[in-house]
């Protein structure tokens, strides 16, 4: 190819680049921004007052409380699990490590409906432990413990997945040094390990929390949809929607959309400010 043809193609090349950028931008606007905008447009369709009134109904408030409660239990459980799993996986050698890693990731490839179903099979009226629990007056399915269990299952991998590649990359020299210099286990953990992983930990907790508060399929199966008692915010969205209360459904949905935007904003900030300390985070954190 001669230099002449390359020069002649430069205008065409510029147009090609512009066309790619324009197409990708248009696609992202229609595909991602439009649904987000429609949530707020539908929520405010009948004005501010209707919006606020639908958020002040008692079932809306109890759904918000329940969502916060479930996340407040499930997220710390998976936080503790994530730290323990990452510590075991990255600081010691043992047989079956690869299998353990696959098991930690497993909940991501299980349908949310199946994630809820398995607990119904364990604790439901016809489940393995159902009759025993019933005799002792303990309710798990169609009650808050079931919602927590399903949420824990769904969000189990988030924190561990952030920490494992990071702690693997960081290595254990600093911790070993602390031990050799006489630090006890807790001193080592709080003064060396935790400061090294804090931003990745926060990142994992952020994603874990977003999914915990937004989970629908798994909690839908174990909830029983008892209004005011077992309906989290996403379930309240569904119930209102099915009752043709669109403003009410989108009003709750708008709160969840705000949570999503807040999550994205904090996530982007963490990546921008502490990218190196979060580092090797696996793509596709759901």
């Amino acid at each position: 190819m001669s230099g002449g043809s390359a020069r002649g193609g430069s205008t065409g090349r510029w147009l090609g680049h512009a066309a790619i950028i324009a197409f990708a931008s248009l696609f992202l606007i229609v595909f991602l921004l439009l649904p987000l905008a429609s949530v707020f447009a539908e929520a405010f369709r009948q004005g501010m007052q209707a919006y606020l009134a639908s958020l002040q109904q008692p079932e809306a408030l109890s759904a918000i409380r329940l969502t916060l409660l479930v996340a407040a239990i499930a997220v710390p459980l998976n936080l503790a699990f994530g730290v323990a799993a990452a510590w075991a996986m990255t600081r010691f050698e043992f047989r079956g490590k690869a299998a353990l890693g696959a098991l930690i990731d497993l909940p991501f490839s299980v349908s949310p409906v199946i994630s809820g179903l398995v607990y119904v099979l364990l604790f439901g009226a016809q489940g393995w432990f159902g009759p025993w629990l019933d005799a002792h007056g303990v309710r798990i399915i169609f009650a808050v413990p079931g919602l927590v269990l399903a949420t824990v299952f769904i969000t189990l991998p988030f924190v561990a997945r952030e920490l494992i590649p990071l702690m693997q990359a960081q290595g254990s020299e600093e911790e070993e040094a602390a031990r050799v210099l006489g630090a006890n286990a807790w001193q080592m953990f709080f003064r060396v390990t935790l400061p090294n992983i804090r931003w990745a930990l926060l990142y994992g907790v952020l994603l874990c929390n977003a999914r915990a508060m937004g989970e629908f399929g798994a909690v839908s199966v174990v909830s029983g949809h008892i209004r005011g008692l077992t309906t989290t915010m996403p379930l309240e969205v569904e119930m209102r929607y099915n009752e043709y209360d669109y403003v009410g459904a989108f009003a709750i949905a708008s709160l969840l959309a705000l949570l999503a935007l807040l999550t994205l904003a904090v996530k982007t900030f963490l990546e921008w400010r502490y990218g190196d300390e979060i580092a090797a985070h696996a793509p596709g954190g759901h």
Binding site: F23, L36, F81, A88, S109, V113, V120, R179, F216, T268
Partner: protein, 274 residues
């Protein structure tokens, strides 16, 4: 010697195993156990039911198609975000994860509102005879939406680290842009594209929340397999629900193993090509 210095092996591994055993393994064993309750004959009957077959075909066929679409769309978007500088690029980049962050029920009703016959886009599509909401295309749309970030996010770091000098060498040796892309760039990306494909596929196969609102859930036409599981549960057909769950997990497992094999093979092919 090393492992002696660091504390907490027993307690961290023990806690990890106990937690996984209780939260993940025991429930999955219960699932498999319950599924055997319908027996071999029951399983055949379940799989021979036209409604089950239609739902499985929609869930798996739709997910495969959605993952394939996501490979093309994801490649285009990741390429644009990595290679070009333009106004709004950072905002778009942050927005890519929206389908992960937005609760599926919210995505479901939002997509339905847009693509319903009276929606922002639906009202333009309806006169053209294109029905998205309450029909199979709606299922596909929701599946593409929830799986979209996977391909972009797996590709971005690879595209970023792709050595420009190889492309420049190819072009200076007289390769056209198309040749450079298909012979030099694409082979290196294939294993990553397969990873993104597998992640998007796994997500779309089991997707429930975003799909059920837009699908219309017409039996034999736009009813997904997870919804069938929910319906069996509501009819107290626990064994049937469990069996369908096991069938879905087994199908997904086989697909993911096939993709892993393909990836292994394509990785070797890319190495040989380079």
């Amino acid at each position: 010697m090393r492992r002696r210095v660091l504390p907490g092996f027993g307690i961290s591994l023990g806690y990890t195993l106990a937690y996984l055993g209780l939260i993940v393994l025991l429930p999955l064993v219960a699932l498999a156990w319950k599924a055997t309750g319908i027996g071999f004959h029951g399983l055949l009957q379940l799989l021979a039911s036209p409604r089950t077959l239609a739902a499985l075909r929609l869930s798996f066929g739709g997910a495969l198609l959605a993952a394939l679409l996501n490979v093309f769309l994801g490649l285009l978007v990741a390429w644009t975000l990595v290679r070009y500088r333009f106004p709004g690029r950072r905002l778009f980049d942050a927005l890519i994860d929206l389908p992960f962050a937005l609760p599926t029920a919210v995505a479901g009703i939002a997509l339905t509102a847009i693509y319903a016959p009276n929606g922002w886009l639906g009202r333009w599509l309806a006169p053209m005879g294109i029905q998205v909401a309450y029909a199979p295309p709606g299922v596909l749309l929701a599946m593409v939406f929830v799986g979209f970030p996977f391909v972009v996010r797996t590709l971005q770091p690879v595209l970023q680290s792709l050595a420009r000098d190889v492309e420049e060498a190819a072009e200076s040796l007289g390769a056209t842009r198309a040749q450079t892309f298909f012979r030099v760039i694409l082979p290196v990306l294939v294993p990553t594209l397969l990873t993104g494909f597998a992640l998007a596929l796994a997500r779309a196969v089991g997707e429930y929340g975003s799909v059920i609102f837009i699908a219309g859930n017409i039996p034999m036409r736009s009813e997904i397999a997870p919804l069938l599981i929910v319906q069996k549960l509501e009819e107290f057909d626990y064994a049937g629900a469990a069996a369908l769950g096991v069938v879905m997990l087994a199908f997904s497992f086989v697909l993911l193993v096939l993709i892993a094999l393909l990836q292994h093979w394509s990785g070797r092919w890319a190495e040989r090509g380079a």
